[in-house]
């Protein structure tokens, strides 16, 4: 869509775009290019020259067991937390959309968790799920040694998944509810007239009509699970125990800023960038075209 009526002073037009362009050049394109350059060279942490090494950084990363472990942990985290957050949100939104008494109230409250900073809720969950105090301690009293995120990798992963999913249920809920409410009431009433029950209507009318939202949220949740997980991991587990929760962004941070391996961190950034670009392209090409029932 284009405007028919426009202004003719081109210089003014370009000037309006200049602040944004300067910003994205300085803080987006330059660093992104820098990351590519660094990933192909060996950088000294405090400046002072660099050596061209071609794809060596990628080779050494892709042959490191730690890195594959980090990818595996990220994928497990992404899959389980996305699945959990989306399923719970879908159920809650579908039920809220039935508009029984009190649904207004739920519509307000269920959104709250999304407003909270990931590190703040991480600290809250760290307490709630602490093995010696809080709530899992009760379980530990009954079965000693049942739960300890500080020692057991699976427990630690479960903790960060719980914290992340809790926040994103709120987010997904907003979108699912908006999608449900966009479905014309007359459609559902017509189906009810034809004798289909609530479950049948959900399966054959509402669910197909919200598939675009489902796929959209799927991509957003996976991408967010790569980035927004940093605060949760840093506060709850610091990547431990034994790297069980060393997710990709956390590894970039700890290799780059704690290990001062700029080249290795840059190469990891490039791999993560490619992963996210592929996901985004997938979203725009595939989903926007194929999944459209209206």
């Amino acid at each position: 869509m284009e405007k028919r009526v426009t202004f003719s002073r081109r210089t003014i037009g370009i000037l309006f775009a200049v602040p944004q362009l300067l910003l994205i050049f300085t803080f987006f394109y330059w660093p992104a290019g820098q990351a590519v350059y660094w990933s192909l060279t060996l950088q000294q942490p405090w400046g002072g020259g660099n050596i061209w090494v071609g794809l060596d950084n990628f080779r050494s990363i892709l042959s490191s067991a730690d890195y594959w472990n980090s990818i595996a942990a990220s994928l497990v985290f992404a899959a389980i937390s996305t699945g959990l957050a989306m399923f719970v949100a879908l159920v809650l939104a579908a039920l809220t959309d039935r508009q029984l008494t009190g649904s207004r109230f739920y519509r307000v409250v269920l959104i709250w968790p999304y407003g909270i900073a990931a590190p703040a809720l991480a600290l809250a969950f760290r307490f709630i799920l602490a093995p010696e105090a809080g709530f899992m301690a009760v379980v530990n009293q009954a079965w000693p040694g049942f739960w300890d995120p500080g020692l057991d990798g699976v427990d630690a992963m479960a903790s960060i998944i719980a914290a992340f999913s809790w926040k994103y249920v709120g987010y997904n809920f907003i979108f699912f509810l908006a999608a449900f409410q966009a479905i014309p009431r007359s459609l559902i009433e017509a189906a009810a007239m034809d004798g289909s029950g609530v479950i049948r209507r959900f399966r054959d009318i509402q669910f197909p009509l919200i598939t675009p939202t489902i796929f959209f949220l799927l991509v957003i949740n996976i991408t967010e699970s790569f980035q927004d997980s940093f605060g949760i991991v840093d506060i709850m587990t610091s990547g431990g125990p034994a790297n069980a929760t060393n997710l990709m962004v956390y590894k970039i941070y700890s290799d780059g800023f704690k290990g001062l391996d700029y080249s290795g961190a840059a190469a990891q950034s490039i791999i993560l960038m490619l992963l996210i670009i592929v996901l985004t392209i997938f979203q725009f090409r595939f989903i926007e075209r194929r999944v459209h029932y209206r």
Partner: protein, 304 residues
């Protein structure tokens, strides 16, 4: 709504109520834990009735993590990002919607691409740029040979250097450098009727006049939505402030939470930690509750 389904209605109420409990429980637990003394908070099970040390714990957390100035820093950063986004996105959208100039489509795509890569994945080089924000331009001058030329002609050696670490500018600017708001405005500007522009032009208004007196007042709803969403997003940033503020004086409230994690060994001071968490959680929660309408609207509009 259409027919009577008593059993299903019961299940609906039950499930929604469980969802409500799960959504609110962490807030309640944090508040209760923040009100106990050191012994009670570590009791198993923790007493579920509030204790009496609430204000004491809040005070201790406030001084331990030095939250006063930190909350102010968070506020400055969040407000700065929100204001910057609202203004810069409006300018850019105006430029790409209301003007025809060569390279317009190219600029559109340049901005569009920034949606793909979040700050977290290009964090290391962005940090390097912020450490000396003029380094890109220095490198360009060096590589093109311009700095050699200038040195030959004027005898002045060019060494551009301007660090933004530990400054509000360094905190704010990189967070503004994305396209989120631009497309929100673009969608809206495209729906503004052409007749309005024609009428304004006939009355002798130039581009600037039209933008300030007609377009901006019309976009107030969008500004509120975008501002709310960006304020929350910036307030909740963690990784970026953690890196940029090596000096305590510019640290934000969210990064300060790390100081409150009880150290291993000794009885963990969870009551203080939870009091701090509560303080840091509260401002965004208030924004969400007070600005719910704009928040929901902004979320849905910026993402789609």
């Amino acid at each position: 709504m259409v027919e009577r389904t008593p059993i299903l209605n019961f299940v609906t109420h039950l499930v929604l109520f469980i969802g409500f409990v799960l959504a609110v429980a962490p807030f309640v637990i944090v508040a209760i834990a923040a009100s106990h003394n050191l012994k009670d908070v570590n009791d198993v099970p923790m007493p579920l009735l509030p204790g009496s040390d609430f204000w004491l714990n809040i005070k201790t957390a406030w001084t331990t993590a030095d939250l006063g100035p930190k909350l102010l820093n968070s506020f400055i950063m969040a407000a700065g990002v929100a204001a910057g986004k609202v203004i810069i996105s409006a300018l850019t959208a105006f430029s790409i919607v209301y003007f025809r100039y060569p390279g317009r489509t190219f600029i559109f795509w340049l901005i569009f691409v920034t949606l793909m890569l979040p700050l977290e994945v290009r964090i290391v080089p962005t940090y390097a740029v912020v450490a000396n924000v003029l380094s890109p331009y220095q490198t360009i001058l060096d590589v093109t040979g311009l700095s050699w030329l200038i040195e030959k002609i004027s005898g002045v050696r060019i060494a551009l250097s301007f660090g933004l670490l530990n400054s509000y500018t360094g905190l704010i600017l990189p967070l503004i450098a994305t396209a989120t708001g631009t497309f929100l405005y673009r969608q809206f500007f495209l729906t503004v009727p052409d007749e309005l522009t024609e009428a304004a032009r006939m009355d002798g208004a130039g581009a600037l006049r039209f933008f300030i007196d007609i377009l901006l007042p019309l976009s107030r709803t969008n500004m509120a939505a975008l501002g709310t969403i960006m304020f929350l997003w910036a307030w909740n940033q963690y990784l970026w402030p953690l890196l940029v503020t090596t000096d305590q004086s510019h640290a934000t409230a969210v990064t300060e939470l790390k100081q409150l994690i009880p150290n291993i060994g000794g009885i963990p001071e969870w009551n203080i930690a939870m009091a701090g968490t509560l303080i840091v959680m509260l401002p965004p929660l208030i924004v969400v509750v007070a600005m719910q309408r704009w928040f929901v609207r902004g979320l849905i509009a910026t993402e789609k």
